[in-house]
């Protein structure tokens, strides 16, 4: 009996998943033969690249809406803003600022719409956000594959396919590449630490933590715990849920901006794909569930998940002499984490 209690304390839901990830990453790293410095550099890059996207998932989870797979919509709104600005060839600071504001405005509008839809399907938010993501993706493709050159006038021939209709697969962001990442770059031996961007990610973490400690945050928690009771307690549940989704979508849009400027290349039709799955998997790897999530889960999760993500192809290469296996292992890790966390939290929910 005593062992049971001890075991429950050590291997509760919160610690179980991160522990498994820690062990997996450690062994995969051993087999990969990659140097610690390389892995650490890569993980730091991933941290500043994906950090805000992962953080954008936290508030919807606290509000009881599960994992918001519709952050992919936020990513797409920012890409839309970026493409329009590139089309009208606004370079330099005014260009970046315009991308920034246009992206946020589009994210607010789409967040508002998604929130309204989700209020009609209470209890089934996750599956609906996945479908919304698919739908938005096809609309996005329609606009850029067919819309440009037909009903949207082309101002920048460079980004258009040679047939005159549709945007090219890849658009170079050379002028923006790694501009912010190089601020306050500190070198510790072989490890590069982009202090400014790390601070930016931490700033967003701080903002979310702050929001959850306000009256607004208390209401979010109450709605997450029981939306019927929150309604009787005088909280306008529907309005609150819409606000939550707007915040999440805007954060996702900003996250995508950080992501794109870090990569420096913009794959118009694929850059946003899988951002939802990878961000959700990272959050869950940190010990979050679809019922509870906090900043620590996000930050721990990014480090654990991406370590495994980086070392697994090389480990596959060395163990089985087949790099593709490691590549498959990546998708297995991502989807497996989500499936595992879903099963575990449903089990705990019943108790």
């Amino acid at each position: 009996m005593r062992y049971k209690i001890l075991a429950e304390k050590l291997f509760n839901m919160e610690n179980l998943v991160p522990t498994v990830f820690l062990l997996l990453s450690f062994f995969a790293w051993q087999f990969s033969g990659l140097s610690g410095t390389f892995v650490l550099n890569q993980v730091i890059t991933r941290f500043i690249r994906d950090g805000i996207l992962v953080l954008s998932l936290i508030i919807p989870v606290v509000a009881g809406m599960g994992l918001n797979f519709a952050i992919i919509v936020g990513a797409m709104t920012m890409q839309t803003a970026l493409l329009f600005v590139i089309n009208y060839q606004l370079a330099g600071l005014p260009g970046i600022l315009l991308v920034f504001f246009l992206g946020i405005i589009l994210a607010v509008i789409s967040g508002f719409a998604i929130g309204h839809v989700l209020n009609r399907v209470k209890g089934k938010e996750m599956i609906v956000t996945i479908i919304i993501g698919f739908l938005a993706n096809s609309i996005y493709q329609l606009v850029f594959l067919v819309g440009f050159g037909t009903f949207i006038p082309v101002a920048n021939e460079e980004i258009i396919l040679s047939r005159g209709i549709g945007v090219r697969n890849a658009v170079d962001l050379g002028m923006y590449r790694n501009t912010i990442d190089k601020f306050w770059l500190i070198k510790l031996g072989g490890i590069e630490i982009p202090l400014f961007m790390i601070l930016v990610v931490l700033l967003f973490a701080g903002i979310i933590s702050y929001l959850l400690h306000t009256r607004f945050g208390q209401e979010v928690k109450a709605v997450g715990s029981s939306h019927e009771k929150a309604e009787i307690a005088g909280i306008n549940v529907n309005a609150l849920r819409i606000k939550v989704i707007i915040i999440s979508t805007v954060l996702a849009a900003l996250g995508q901006l950080a992501y794109l400027q870090n990569i420096g290349m913009f794959d118009v039709y694929t850059a946003h794909m899988n951002t939802d799955i990878i961000s959700c998997a990272a959050l869950l790897a940190g010990g979050a569930s679809i019922k509870s999530a906090n900043i620590r889960h996000a930050i721990v999760g990014i480090f654990l998940f991406h370590t495994l993500f980086i070392v697994s192809p090389q480990a596959g290469q060395n163990l089985f002499h087949n790099a593709a296996l490691g590549e498959y292992f990546r998708s297995f890790v991502a989807y497996g984490t989500i499936a595992f966390a879903l099963i575990i939290s449903t089990k705990y929910e019943k108790k």
């Binding site: 306000t214 009256r215 208390q218 209401e219 928690k221 309604e231 009787i232 108790k351």
Partner: protein, 539 residues
């Protein structure tokens, strides 16, 4: 002093709440008919009524509960300080200065006491107030908890403010809920729905003192209760409701328990009454260290023998496990412990196996678990009998593929519809179109079709009007007497159990606390329900 106070304020004598000709019905069944009443500032207005008299409906309407809108709204007018409440939702109603203590707790289970009391009115940091406004200002947790604690202290309760609501007893939850309302500075009208129902005697009298004090401070209180002594003790005026109608209203000084009781009960319904008899203590089924993990209704290591041929009542406050017994048998929630049925040990709590052995359960959640709402009355009656025992299938030697023997079905169903006086347009009518009482009769008819030796019934009369209630109780007695079916009734209506049962087991915290005879005194029952040994009868 009081009169002087009123002279100066003047407004204190006017009504803060005016209800005029209120009508409300659910699916064509009237719940409230032409109800008019008013509440003044600084007064406690009592509302008395038996179960099903419309008290809770009235409260739901006043508080803008979404249930009312979903079931078609109401007719009539309600004015609060001259403002019509008709189009308002709960959020707006709270904003106007009305507070409500709900019969089913409206506390957020995963939040602490402090967070719950101050929800929506948290103490915030003054600096961030100016920066982002109140709503997005940092919550000062320390100050918040201190403030919440002082509200609880005012009610004379001492608990750790950091405990989550899930871990609290019902008693404490009630005080937290009241503390949440009185911690508001803008509170002008407080609606209380059976606030003392779950409290022990001492706690109840403390609460009544608190309420009197609050009303002297100028607060208007609408106090719903079925404990008449309480109404007499603290109310300035009282209204009696019966079957949705205002029967009488009494002014200051006229309130008395005898008058209230007479008006509340009204015409006499012929009541179901089982004759006393001696039951041979031969256990049909016995539970040993039996536990059921039903959230909020756990049974924790219960020992109980159920005698063959008896009607056993299970009494207990909600949350003490009385409704989990049947669910455990049907395997709805994980159950452990030893169950011996007719000298056979039952290891697996499996619905099908147990029905075949002769046990049947009618759950309390009739809408979700008791009926197939979109199926016909006939299908509902024969469902279990046909699916589990194949009673109505023409058997060609193939499992699952037997055709339904329609003639046999309709003969059987018509017989039961006549016997039980189930009111319906035809046996093909969808069951969700029937009233609650008739639905319950169909459930019992279904149980009889299976012909069980042991029948568990949970809350058989919940949500059913008074005359149908008695019919259902009579049905249960008849079944027991004519078919020798052993029946276990879990109910929160102690009065009904006392009339029908041979023995009544009182459950406290998931165990059988005491088994009482139905003619035991009210005091004994009250003490047993509160989990106290009955030593001081003068209490």
């Amino acid at each position: 002093m009081d009169s002087l106070f009123f002279l100066f304020t003047g407004a204190a004598m006017t009504n803060i709440l005016d209800i005029k000709n209120l009508n409300k019905s659910y699916n064509g069944i009237p719940a409230l008919k032409n109800v008019s009443l008013s509440v003044r500032a600084g007064e406690i207005h009592g509302i008395v009524g038996a179960n099903g008299s419309g008290k809770t409906t009235l409260m739901n309407i006043l508080f803008g509960n979404p249930v009312i809108r979903e079931t078609g709204g109401y007719q009539g007018e309600i004015y609060y300080e001259g403002v019509s409440l008709k189009t308002k939702n709960s959020t707006e109603i709270i904003g106007l200065g009305i507070g409500m203590v709900h019969q089913e707790f409206a506390l957020i289970p995963d939040m602490t006491i402090g967070e719950n009391i101050k929800l929506g009115r948290e103490e915030t940091n003054r600096f961030t107030d100016r920066l982002f406004g109140k709503k997005y200002s940092f919550v000062d947790r320390k100050k918040n908890d201190l403030n919440a604690e002082s509200a609880l202290k005012k009610l004379g309760v001492n608990v750790d403010i950091g405990v989550k609501i899930i871990n609290l007893s019902t008693n404490t939850r009630q005080f937290v809920e009241i503390a949440r309302e009185i911690a508001r500075a803008d509170l002008k009208l407080l609606l209380l729905d059976e606030p003392t129902a779950v409290l022990s005697r001492d706690d109840a009298s403390n609460l009544l003192e608190d309420l009197t004090e609050l009303s002297q401070g100028g607060l208007g209180i609408l106090f719903v209760s079925h404990r008449l002594e309480e109404i007499q003790q603290i109310c300035d005026r009282a209204t009696v409701l019966r079957e949705g109608e205002v029967i009488s209203q009494y002014g200051r000084g006229e309130v008395s328990t005898t008058k209230l009781a007479r008006d509340m009960i009204g015409h006499t319904v012929s009541k179901a009454m089982a004759k006393k008899r001696a039951i041979e203590p031969r256990p049909l089924v016995s539970f040993q260290q039996y536990s059921v993990e039903m959230p909020g209704e756990e049974i924790r290591g219960m020992d109980l023998d159920i005698f063959e041929g008896e009607i056993l009542g299970l009494a207990g406050l909600s949350g003490h496990g009385k409704s989990a017994l049947g669910y455990g048998i049907m395997g709805m929630y994980p159950a452990t412990g030893e169950v011996v049925y007719e000298n056979m040990k039952i290891d697996r709590m499996d619905a099908k196996a147990n029905i075949l052995k002769g046990m049947y359960v009618l759950p309390d959640d009739r809408q979700a678990l008791g009926i197939l709402p979109d199926h016909s009355l006939a299908e509902n009656i024969i469902f279990t009998g046909d699916q589990i025992k194949g009673l109505f299938s023409m058997n060609f030697g193939l499992p699952f593929l037997g055709f339904l023997d329609k003639r046999k079905v309709y003969d059987h169903v018509h017989q039961l519809v006549d016997d039980f006086e189930i009111r319906c347009t035809s046996v093909k009518q969808k069951i969700r179109e029937l009233s609650g009482g008739n639905q319950q009769k169909v459930c019992i008819a279904r149980a009889l079709t299976v012909n069980p030796r042991l029948l568990f019934v949970a809350e058989p009369t919940r949500g059913i009007d008074i005359s149908a209630k008695e019919k259902i109780l009579k049905m249960l007695i008849d079944i027991n007497r004519s078919r020798h079916t052993t029946i276990v009734i879990a109910s929160s209506e102690l009065d009904e159990l006392k009339r029908v049962c041979d023995r009544i087991a009182v459950m406290v915290e998931g165990r059988i606390f005491k088994v009482l005879q139905p003619d035991s005194s009210d005091v004994e029952f009250a003490l047993a329900l509160a989990g106290e040994e009955g030593t001081d009868y003068d209490a």
